[in-house]
C-alpha cells in the first residue's frame, strides 16, 4: 500500500461529537449555565424590583400600579430620610478610615519584617470569617454592662468614671457600627493595596533616594501615583459594599435605638420582609441605585483620571 491509496483509519465521529465540535453550538452551550443563572436570578429580579417599587405589592399578593406614590411617601418619612443620611455618613466615614488605616497597614507590611506571610495570613482573618458572627462578637464587646472596653477604660486605666453605653444613644451607636465596619474592612484594603505596592519596582525608590528624595516625597511621587489604579478599583468595591451593608447593622443594632441607625438596606428589609410591604421595601432598595451608580462612577473615574493625568505629565 502506498501513500496514494492510504485512507485515514479513524472512524468518523458520531453526530453528537460533531455537534459539540461545532463552534457556535459549543459557545452557546458553554455560556448557557452562567448566563441563564444570571438572567433568571439577577437581571430579571433587578427589573422586577424596579417594577415592584411602583406598586403596592404585599407578600403573597399581587399589587396595583401606584406610580410614584411609594417614593412620595418616603420623602415625608423621617425614618427613611435618617436612613439615607446614615448610609451616606456611614459609607463616607468608614471608607476614609478603612483606606487611611488599610494603607498604613499595607505600608507597614511592605517592609522587610520577620514572619511576613504569617502576619499577612492572620490579618486576613476578620475578612474571612462570617460577618454576622464577628458582628455578634462586637455586640458582646459593646454590651452596656459587661463591655470589655469600658472595663479597661474604667476599672483598669481609670480614664472614665462610668461605663460607656455604646449602643444606647444614636451617635454612640453610629460610631460603634463604623468601628466594627472598619475593623472588618481593613484587611481587604491592606492586603489588596499590599499587592499593589509589591508591583512597584524598587529601582524607582533607589533612584529617588539617589536624587535625595525624602520618604514623604517618594511616597507622594512614586507610591501614590503608581498605586492609584489599584486603589481606584479597591475603593469602588469598598464603597459599593459599605453603602449596601446590611449584616453589621442588622446584627448589632437592628436599626435601633428608635430607628436612628438604620441604613437603607436594613430599612428596606424591615419594611419589605417582616413588614410584608414588598412595594415599599423595593422602593427603598431602588432609591439606593442612583447613589450606587454615582458612588461607583465617582470613585472609579475620579481616581482613575488622576492616573491618566499623571501619565500625561510624564511625557
Amino acid at each position: 500500500m502506498d501513500a496514494s491509496t492510504w485512507k485515514p483509519s479513524r472512524a468518523e465521529p458520531s453526530w453528537l461529537a460533531r455537534l459539540f465540535d461545532y463552534k457556535p453550538f459549543l459557545i452557546f452551550i458553554c455560556l448557557l449555565p452562567a448566563i441563564g443563572l444570571l438572567l433568571a436570578f439577577l437581571t430579571y429580579p433587578l427589573g422586577l424590583g424596579i417594577y415592584l417599587a411602583f406598586t403596592d405589592t404585599e407578600i403573597g399578593g399581587n399589587g396595583e400600579w401606584v406610580g410614584l406614590e411609594n417614593f412620595i411617601s418616603l420623602l415625608d418619612d423621617r425614618i427613611f430620610i435618617t436612613s439615607v443620611w446614615n448610609t451616606l455618613f456611614y459609607t463616607f466615614t468608614a471608607t476614609v478610615l478603612k483606606f487611611a488605616l488599610g494603607l498604613w497597614l499595607a505600608l507597614l507590611l511592605n517592609h522587610h519584617i520577620p514572619f511576613k506571610s504569617f502576619l499577612r495570613a492572620i490579618i486576613l482573618l476578620p475578612y474571612i470569617t462570617p460577618t454576622v458572627l464577628s458582628a455578634i462578637a462586637f455586640w458582646w464587646i459593646y454590651d452596656p454592662q459587661f463591655s470589655i472596653i469600658s472595663y479597661v477604660l474604667v476599672d483598669r486605666l481609670h480614664i472614665l468614671d462610668h461605663y460607656i453605653d455604646f449602643l444606647g444613644t444614636p451617635w454612640a451607636a453610629r460610631w460603634s457600627l463604623i468601628v466594627a465596619n472598619v475593623w472588618r474592612g481593613i484587611p481587604f484594603v491592606a492586603i489588596t493595596l499590599l499587592a499593589g505596592l509589591q508591583t512597584i519596582s524598587p529601582s524607582l525608590y533607589e533612584a529617588a533616594l539617589l536624587d535625595g528624595a525624602s520618604p514623604w516625597q517618594s511616597f507622594r511621587h512614586i507610591t501614590s501615583p503608581l498605586l492609584m489604579p489599584i486603589l481606584a478599583i479597591v475603593m469602588t468595591f469598598s464603597v459599593l459594599f459599605t453603602f449596601t451593608d446590611f449584616q453589621l447593622v442588622y446584627a448589632i443594632t437592628r436599626g435601633g435605638p428608635i430607628n436612628s441607625t438604620h441604613l437603607m438596606a436594613t430599612l428596606a428589609f424591615q419594611r419589605g420582609i417582616p413588614g410584608a410591604q414588598l412595594g415599599e421595601g423595593a422602593a427603598i432598595a431602588v432609591a439606593m441605585i442612583p447613589f450606587l451608580v454615582f458612588a461607583t462612577l465617582f470613585s472609579y473615574y475620579a481616581l482613575g483620571r488622576r492616573k491618566w493625568q499623571q501619565g500625561s505629565d510624564n511625557d
Partner: protein, 299 residues
C-alpha cells in the same frame, strides 16, 4: 525600607555606624513594629474574646471584680454541650455545609464553561459578554433580595435549600468567571493548537488540557465561592423561615438570641464554631485566598 536608609546624610562620618544602627533600630521599632503589633492585636482581639467567652462559666462571665476577664479560671464545655445537644446547631452546620458545597459546585461548573467560551473559544463580542458578567458582580444583594424573594416564592422554592443554592451563584459566578478568565489567559494557547492538530475535540481539550492546567485557579475560585456562600446572610435570612433549615450565620442570630437576656456564652460558642470551618479551610489555602483576592483586583 526607604526611611531607614534616608538617615545616612544626617549622621556625621566619625560616629556614623554605631549611632546609625542604634537610631535605625529604634526607629524601626517605633515606626514599624509598634504600630504593626497594635494592628494585629486590634484585628485579632474579637476572636480571642469570642473564644474566651465560649469557654467561660456564666459566673465568671458576669463578674469582673473577682475574675480577670482576660483569662478563664475554670474553663467549661457547658456552652458547647448545650449548643450541640440542646439546639439544632449540628443540623444548621450540615445545612450550611451542603448549601455551600451545592452552590460552589454549580457556580464553578457555570464559570468554567463561561470562562472557557469567553477566553478560549473567542467569538464576536466575547469581551462584552465577559464585561457583562463582571458587571453583575456590582449589583449588590441588598437591592436584589426583595424581588428575589418574590421570584423564589413564585418558583415554589421558598423555605427550601434550593432557594439559596440557586441564588448564591448570582454573586459567585461573576467572581469565579473573572478569576478563571485570568487563569485561562496564562495557559499558552499553543498547547490547545497542538491538541487541535492532533484531532482532539474542543471538549476533550477543555477536559484533558485546559482544566488540569487551571487547577490552581479552580481551587482559588472554589474556596472563595465556598467562603462567600458560607458567610452569606441576607438571602438566607429572607428566604428561609423554618428553624431547622436555617444556615449557621442566620440561626445564631435569630435562634440563639431569645428575649432580653442574652446568653453570651452560647452565642459566642455559636459564633466561634460557625467561624471555625472557614477559618480551618482558610489556613490550608492561605496562598490561594491571597492570590484570588489580589488577582481579582489586579485584573
Amino acid at each position: 525600607m526607604s526611611n531607614t536608609t534616608v538617615e545616612q546624610p544626617a549622621v556625621t562620618e566619625a560616629d556614623g555606624p554605631q549611632v546609625m544602627s542604634w537610631d535605625s533600630g529604634m526607629r524601626r521599632i517605633i515606626t514599624i513594629y509598634i504600630p504593626l503589633s497594635i494592628f494585629v492585636i486590634v484585628l485579632l482581639f474579637p476572636f480571642y474574646w469570642m473564644a474566651i467567652t465560649a469557654f467561660k462559666p456564666n459566673g465568671e462571665l458576669m463578674n469582673y471584680r473577682d475574675n480577670n476577664p482576660f483569662w478563664i479560671n475554670h474553663p467549661t464545655f457547658a456552652n458547647i454541650n448545650k449548643l450541640l445537644f440542646e439546639t439544632d446547631y449540628g443540623h444548621w452546620l450540615v445545612t450550611t455545609m451542603s448549601i455551600a458545597f451545592g452552590s460552589t459546585f454549580l457556580s464553578l461548573l457555570a464559570s468554567v464553561l463561561a470562562a472557557y467560551a469567553i477566553q478560549r473559544l473567542r467569538f464576536k463580542g466575547s469581551d462584552y459578554v465577559g464585561l457583562a458578567i463582571y458587571a453583575a458582580y456590582l449589583v449588590p444583594p441588598s437591592i436584589l433580595f426583595i424581588p428575589l424573594a418574590q421570584v423564589v416564592y413564585q418558583l415554589g422554592l421558598f423555605d427550601t435549600p434550593y432557594a439559596l443554592i440557586l441564588t448564591y451563584p448570582t454573586f459567585l459566578v461573576p467572581f469565579c468567571t473573572w478569576l478563571l478568565i485570568g487563569y485561562f489567559k496564562s495557559i499558552p494557547y499553543e498547547l490547545e493548537e497542538c491538541a487541535l492538530i492532533d484531532g482532539a475535540s474542543r471538549l476533550q481539550i477543555l477536559r484533558r488540557i485546559t482544566l488540569p492546567l487551571a487547577v490552581p485557579g479552580l481551587i482559588s475560585a472554589g474556596i472563595f465561592a465556598f467562603t462567600l456562600s458560607w458567610n452569606e446572610f441576607i438571602y438566607a435570612l429572607a428566604f428561609i423561615s423554618s428553624t431547622e433549615k436555617k444556615t449557621v450565620p442566620v440561626a445564631v442570630l435569630t435562634e440563639l438570641v431569645q428575649g432580653d437576656v442574652y446568653h453570651w456564652g452560647s452565642l459566642m460558642t455559636g459564633a466561634l464554631l460557625g467561624s471555625l470551618p472557614v477559618a480551618i479551610f482558610y489556613m490550608f489555602f492561605v496562598e490561594y485566598y491571597v492570590s484570588s483576592l489580589t488577582g481579582a483586583v489586579k485584573e
